[in-house]
């Protein structure tokens, strides 16, 4: 019998780690997006939701989710780096000519889009969670004395540079997910002549929907549709 260490270090096991954490992260994005879209319901909905999240199970829920996310994120990034280093080494000398047949820009740039997203996530947290970046928009409170998340978002996305940064980040996210979603299913061995073609279409479609969803907030604000 092989030891757990041998299995854990194997390419396929690391790919599974990648795929499962990836799918969880996509599910997180779906949850995140549904929170974001509350902005269209106005300040009360948004700020109430933010407080609700913080106070769920006396604040325990948020930390459990955060811890889980950290673990998932670290595993995902670690597997990505380990595997891509391995892959680079496996190729060694490259051919002078390479003509792609089925790989795409998205599939070949996963490690790069992934690393960009890592920087983006740090920035994004610094912006909206820690208040370390653009702190001038962080310290608002609403009429009920709650942290005015709504205003923070509105004020932030009235800055063209911030909007541009987020649009760019979402483009990178889109590229990453374009390959990632269907790929995760293949890695997990979900393969069937009847369903695989559906998955291969659905993956990019979901990635586009997610990105459009996320972009709707900054763009709606930037063009004055929300927040007057």
């Amino acid at each position: 019998m092989r030891s757990f260490g041998e299995v854990w270090r194997s390419t396929i096991f690391q790919k599974w780690v990648m795929a499962i954490t990836g799918i969880l992260l996509v599910l997180f994005l779906v949850g995140h997006l549904s929170g974001n879209l509350l902005i269209f319901l106005g300040p009360d909905a948004m700020n109430g939701y933010a407080v609700g999240l913080r106070e769920l199970f006396h604040g325990a829920a948020l930390w459990i989710v955060r811890l889980g996310l950290i673990v998932i994120f670290v595993l995902h990034v670690r597997a990505g780096i380990v595997l891509s280093q391995r892959n680079r080494k496996a190729k060694g000398v490259r051919n002078q000519k390479f003509e792609a047949r089925s790989s795409t820009v998205a599939s070949r740039s996963m490690i790069y889009t992934g690393l960009l997203l890592l920087f983006y996530v740090v920035y994004h947290l610094a912006h909206f969670t820690w208040g370390a970046a653009h702190s001038e928009f962080y310290h608002y409170t609403d009429a009920l004395g709650r942290h005015d998340v709504y205003r923070m978002v509105i004020e932030s996305f009235r800055q063209p540079t911030i909007v541009a940064t987020y649009v760019l980040a979402m483009a990178v996210t889109g590229l990453h997910l374009n390959h990632a979603i269907a790929s995760a299913f293949q890695t997990l061995g979900v393969s069937h002549p009847r369903y695989t073609p559906l998955i291969k279409t659905a993956g990019p479609a979901v990635s586009i929907l997610l990105v459009l969803g996320f972009l709707s907030v900054p763009l709606a604000i930037a063009f004055g549709v929300v927040g007057g």
């Binding site: 390419t11 396929i12 060694g92 070949r108 061995g189």
Partner: protein, 248 residues
């Protein structure tokens, strides 16, 4: 037709190697790609230069010996066609053709376009078989196997072990090769007894040989001269993890 060939020349495993350019005149469109190289080699030999070393044997697309990256694609531009079955009618007068060896750390270059693919053999040796000694067998018809299963197994078993999948893969992964054998034997009742051991041992040997991981580019499937589907990789991914759970 007249062609300009850019060919990787490397005198031995320790040499660094480089591309060299050769002009070749009067190539017939009915020649196979390897026959075109034969003509070049005859000319080089007659000039006292060393001919280009390349693997070839059956020249019918089944032995898996030949393999070279032609204009950035393993076995050249045609789908489901080995280099020996590629004919010059695919090219046109004045074309420049880049000819390079398979690239992978697990396939070190021996000379020019010849690489050492013994890592594939070692993968098979670690589990790509049914452990049945000669004389153990029961009557062939005792075990009914549906036509569907037999055909599915045959789809995987069609692999010729040429290594184009590895060459095509940006990660030099051998997953298509490995999964084809795991899929072939795992799909048949004869292969069930060792199904999970096989998956575990072959995958870990593949890793130890220094092949890369799969990132689902599907370049292998597109380059495979026998059209083996990357669905077998999904199946292997499943079997490998099941092995981790079920194997005692």
């Amino acid at each position: 037709m007249n062609l300009r060939l850019h060919i990787w020349r490397q005198s031995g495993p320790t040499d660094t190697g480089m591309m060299k350019t050769y002009d070749l005149a009067d190539v017939s469109e009915h020649m196979s790609f390897l026959e075109m190289l034969d003509v070049l080699n005859e000319q080089l030999s007659e000039r006292g230069e060393e001919p280009v070393a390349f693997e070839h044997d059956c020249r019918e697309g089944i032995c898996g010996s030949c393999g070279m990256v032609i204009n950035g694609r393993p076995h050249g531009p045609l789908p489901r066609t080995t280099a020996c079955q590629l004919h010059m009618r695919t090219f046109k007068d004045g074309d420049e053709i880049y000819i390079e060896p398979w690239r992978a750390r697990a396939f070190p270059v021996v000379r020019d376009l010849v690489v050492d693919r013994s890592s594939f053999d070692r993968i098979i040796q670690s589990g790509g078989f049914v452990s049945v000694n000669t004389g153990n067998a029961q009557d062939g018809n005792t075990l009914p196997i549906s036509k569907k299963d037999a055909d599915y197994a045959m789809d995987a078993a069609a692999c010729i072990g040429c290594g184009a999948c590895v060459a095509a893969c940006p990660n030099s992964s051998a997953m298509l090769f490995t999964s084809a054998k795991i899929g072939h034997l795992g799909a048949l009742p004869q292969g069930q007894a060792e199904r999970y051991d096989r998956a575990e041992n072959m995958v870990l040997t593949m890793d130890a040989e220094g092949f890369g991981a799969c990132t689902n580019h599907y370049e292998c499937e597109a380059a495979c001269p026998k059209g083996i589907s990357a669905d077998f990789i999904a199946r292997m991914n499943r079997d490998f993890v099941m092995a981790g759970l079920l194997n005692r």
